[in-house]
Structure formats: structure tokens, C-alpha cells
């Protein structure tokens, strides 16, 4: 077949193939390679040009060049259409898939428990106050009737910042700060962080949280203390939990007591969690010692009061049956996420 005829034929064939082309990038590429590729139809036709008779050589070259240009333009045009099609029709989007959920943070169980305690006491008229975590010896000990060298200092292992400055060992330091500033009657709770120089174990940590309560008025009775704590225990642990007062000692209250509740695991019949006693201690309390009033300039003949203090981690451990206090401080999200 003469070359000119072959060129004409190739042009027709290309037109036919374009008509049947499916609109994919792959098909377009394959078409381009078959015509314009190094071993494609157009280059193979060009190869024949030099062997043509001299007089028809330039005409054949010209026609073939035109066809090549035509094919290149056509493919470029088709490419534009195909690209824009694939952009407007994203094939990987599946609207049936559920979306990625956003992870919300949760309140730390200590904060959560603290808020529960605060809500219970503010609901019966207690206001909330805060005090310093780094305090002087006077407010943490001396004014609370714990003189230097008194055996009661051994009750708490203290972090001393200097000889006269400590990390507070209890929120009771704030009792003194409040009474120095305010005049009675007072009804306040003090949530906060406290520090003890103790070996870290399942049961003790070098820091923990307390909520302190202080009520001062004329003729405050132990019965009022009992009633307040009974209300708290019922609200926090539930009305079916039994509780008892057990005489104890704190230098800043007289008389002093500790409050036990019936073990939440065994209901009071005795189990390993309560060391077979059926009772677990939750807080310490008592009537404010007149000596404390003297330190802040209140007349102990006129004013009376009660105070109590509870450990937040301990309450949380009992309520949520957590057996290791260190879990609160390890920041392990597998633990923390369980408290929503």
C-alpha cells in the first residue's frame, strides 16, 4: 500500500478508536502509546518517508506531520476532559462509612469526686474557700495546737521547704487563714491538695486531696456535726450505707472522732478489702479545740464549732472500688477514660 494511503487509513482508524474510547486515563494513555509512542503507528510511518521516491517524499512528510499534530491535539484535548471528569467524580468517597469520632476529655476522677463533695456541702449552705499549699509552720501546725516537738507532729510525715516553711500536710491550715480574716459565724469547706513525705505504695502517695469542713457559731453541738456528716454519707454513698463514729485524736479538735462506713464490698460482714472488720474509715472530725480559737483571737467562751476533713482519693477508691491510689497519678488514659 502506498504510504499516502496508509497515512489516510491511520487517520481514519484513529478517529474510529477515539469514538469508542471509554473515558479513563488508562485507555487514553494506551491510545497515545499506540499512535505516538516510540514504536507506535505514527513513528513507524515516519520511518517509511526516507524510502519514498524523491518527488513524493516532501508531500508525504507534510501530510504525516499534519496527522501527528492532529492526533497530539486530540489526545491533549481528551486528556483535559478525562482529568476534569475524575476530579468531579471522586471514586474513593463512601458516604455510608461512619465518621471518625472526636475524643472528648473527661473529668479526672479526683476532680469528679471533689465536685460531688463540694456540691453536697454547698447544697446545705457551706461556702467554698481555698488556702495556700506552701505555708508556714505556724498555720500548718502551731496554730492548730501542734507545737514543735509535740508527739502529734509524728502523725504526719512532713515535707519541709525550710525550717519554717512546709508543704501543707492537711487543708486544716486554711481554717486558721479563714479565721484570721473573717469573724464568726462561719460555714465553709476547703478543697485542696496536700503533701506527705511518705513512701509511695498502693495505699499512700506523696500528695493527695482533701476537703476540709469548718462550722463556727454559738452553741454548736456534736449532734450537729453528726447530722451534717450523716447527710453527707447518705448523699455520697447512698442511704443504705451504715456509718459509725469512733473516738480518735486530733490536736485541733476535742473531742475527736473518725467516721467509718460499712464496707461497700461485703456490706459489713467482713472481707479482705475491709480487713475482715466490716468497716472502713472515711474521715476525721471533732469539735474545734478552744486552743485553736485562742490562736486566732476568737473567744472560746463565746464560740464553738466543728471541723472535719476527708481524703478525696480515699472516697473515690471506696466508691469506684479502685485498689491502688497510684492509678490517680499515672495519667493512664485507659484508667481515666472509665470515668465519664
Amino acid at each position: 500500500m502506498p504510504l499516502l494511503k496508509q497515512i489516510e487509513e491511520a487517520g481514519r482508524e484513529f478517529a474510529r478508536e477515539v469514538e469508542q474510547l471509554d473515558a479513563s486515563m488508562e485507555a487514553l494513555d494506551s491510545l497515545r502509546i499506540r499512535y505516538l509512542g516510540r514504536k507506535g503507528k505514527i513513528p513507524s510511518l515516519f520511518d517509511q518517508v526516507p524510502v519514498q521516491p524523491k518527488e513524493s517524499r516532501s508531500e508525504a512528510g507534510m501530510i504525516l506531520n499534519n496527522l501527528k499534530k492532529e492526533i497530539e491535539d486530540r489526545i491533549a484535548a481528551l486528556r483535559k476532559v478525562t482529568v476534569s471528569k475524575s476530579e468531579t467524580q471522586p471514586t474513593h468517597l463512601d458516604l455510608n462509612l461512619p465518621g471518625d469520632s472526636v475524643r472528648f476529655g473527661t473529668l479526672h476522677p479526683v476532680e469528679h469526686t471533689m465536685q460531688d463533695v463540694k456540691n453536697i456541702f454547698t447544697s446545705i449552705g457551706f461556702s467554698v474557700a481555698y488556702g495556700p499549699e506552701i505555708d508556714d509552720d505556724y498555720h500548718n501546725f502551731e496554730a492548730l495546737n501542734i507545737p514543735k516537738h509535740h508527739p502529734a507532729r509524728d502523725m504526719q510525715d512532713t515535707f519541709y521547704v525550710s525550717e519554717d516553711v512546709v508543704l501543707r500536710t492537711h487543708t486544716s491550715n486554711t481554717q486558721i487563714h479563714i479565721m484570721e480574716k473573717e469573724q464568726p459565724p462561719l460555714r465553709v469547706i476547703v478543697p485542696g491538695r496536700v503533701y506527705r513525705n511518705e513512701a509511695v505504695s498502693v495505699r499512700s502517695y506523696c500528695l493527695f486531696h482533701q476537703v476540709e469542713g469548718l462550722y463556727i457559731n454559738r452553741s454548736v453541738s456534736f449532734a450537729e456535726l453528726k447530722g451534717t456528716l450523716e447527710f453527707f454519707v447518705g448523699k455520697f454513698f447512698g442511704d443504705d450505707v451504715k456509718f459509725r463514729f469512733r473516738p480518735s485524736f486530733f490536736p485541733f479538735t476535742e473531742p475527736s472522732a473518725e467516721v467509718d462506713i460499712s464496707c461497700l464490698l461485703c456490706g459489713g460482714s467482713g472481707c479482705p478489702a475491709c480487713k475482715n472488720k466490716g468497716w472502713v474509715e472515711i474521715l476525721g472530725c471533732g469539735m474545734v479545740d478552744p486552743e485553736v480559737f485562742r490562736h486566732v483571737g476568737y473567744d472560746p467562751e463565746e464560740w464553738t464549732g466543728y471541723a472535719f476533713g476527708m481524703g478525696i482519693e480515699k472516697l473515690a477508691m471506696l466508691k469506684y472500688q479502685i485498689d491502688d491510689i497510684r492509678l490517680f497519678f499515672n495519667s493512664d488514659v485507659r484508667f481515666l477514660r472509665q470515668f465519664v
Binding site: H150, P151, A152, D154, M155, R246, P247, S248, F249, P251, K275
Partner: protein
């Protein structure tokens, strides 16, 4: 503080089971646990109750709580006519810190091993038996709550 129930019985009749005794003491402000297979009590003594830091002190509490009589230890003392003050001179340098210092001289002491009943009691309350001299002073401390010390008269200079 650990107290031996057997030891307590010298000062008060105890007819109750150890766990009942522990409950009574706990309710009285001396938080107690039964330990060493019921042979002893582990008592948490608050700083306001140094009077309870001995077997006699705990026995006193139990006597009151169970309405029994407290039997004080019987003291048998054979004194010689020699005065200790002739043999040793005690001087108190800071009277406000040490209002009273008492001492007694015991002659003809032979250092040896303590009788086994004494060693057993010391072991239960958590002390190691050394010899009869050391053991006696520890025994009296645990029984009466009064610390004391023994010196070798022959080695005291001055």
C-alpha cells in the same frame, strides 16, 4: 504497738475472745487489730494516750471496759542497808527538762540468757532477746511503759 494477750492476763482477767477485746478497745479510741494468730493485738495509740503505751496501760483500759479489777504487778524488793548515793553520784544539769532521775544499784548480777517465757513475750511484741540485763530493761518498758537503762557500775567513770 503490739501487746501480748497472755501478758495482759497478768493484770486483768480476760474472758472475751481476742477480736471482741479488739472491738472494745477500738470503740474506746484505741484502734486495734488481732495479730499473730490471736496471740497479740496491734494497737494504734494516738499521741494523747501515752498512758496506754504499755501492757499495764492497755490492761487498765480493758479492766475499765469489762468492769474487772486491775491487778498491779507485785513488787518484791530486798534492799540492803547500803545507800546507792554512797556509791554513785547523779547530777541533774537541766532540771526543767529532767525533773527527776532515779537510779538503783543491783549487786551480784550474772550476765546470761533470759528465761524462755521472757524471751517468748519479748519476741511477740517485736523485740529480740539479747541477754538477761538488756531483756529485763526492755521487759519493764513494755510492761510498765517506763523507759530505763542499765549501766555497768564498774565501768562508770567519775
Amino acid at each position: 504497738m503490739i501487746v501480748s494477750i497472755d501478758w495482759l492476763r497478768e493484770f486483768v482477767d480476760i474472758s472475751l475472745e481476742p477480736d471482741k477485746v479488739a472491738d472494745l478497745l477500738t470503740d474506746a479510741g484505741l484502734e486495734s487489730d488481732v495479730v499473730i494468730q490471736g496471740k497479740a493485738l496491734d494497737i494504734e495509740i494516738t499521741p494523747n494516750r501515752p498512758d496506754c503505751m504499755s501492757h499495764l496501760g492497755i490492761a487498765r483500759e480493758i479492766a475499765v471496759l469489762t468492769d474487772r479489777k486491775l491487778k498491779y504487778p507485785e513488787l518484791i524488793l530486798e534492799e540492803s542497808s547500803d545507800l546507792a548515793s554512797d556509791l554513785i553520784k547523779v547530777e541533774i544539769e537541766i532540771a526543767e527538762k529532767c525533773p527527776r532521775y532515779a537510779c538503783r544499784i543491783v549487786r551480784n548480777v550474772k550476765v546470761g540468757v533470759s528465761p524462755s517465757w521472757m524471751k517468748d513475750r519479748l519476741e511477740i511484741v517485736g523485740l529480740r532477746a539479747i541477754n538477761n540485763i538488756v531483756d529485763v530493761s526492755n521487759y519493764v518498758l513494755m510492761e510498765m511503759g517506763h523507759p530505763l537503762h542499765t549501766f555497768d557500775l564498774g565501768r562508770i567513770a567519775g
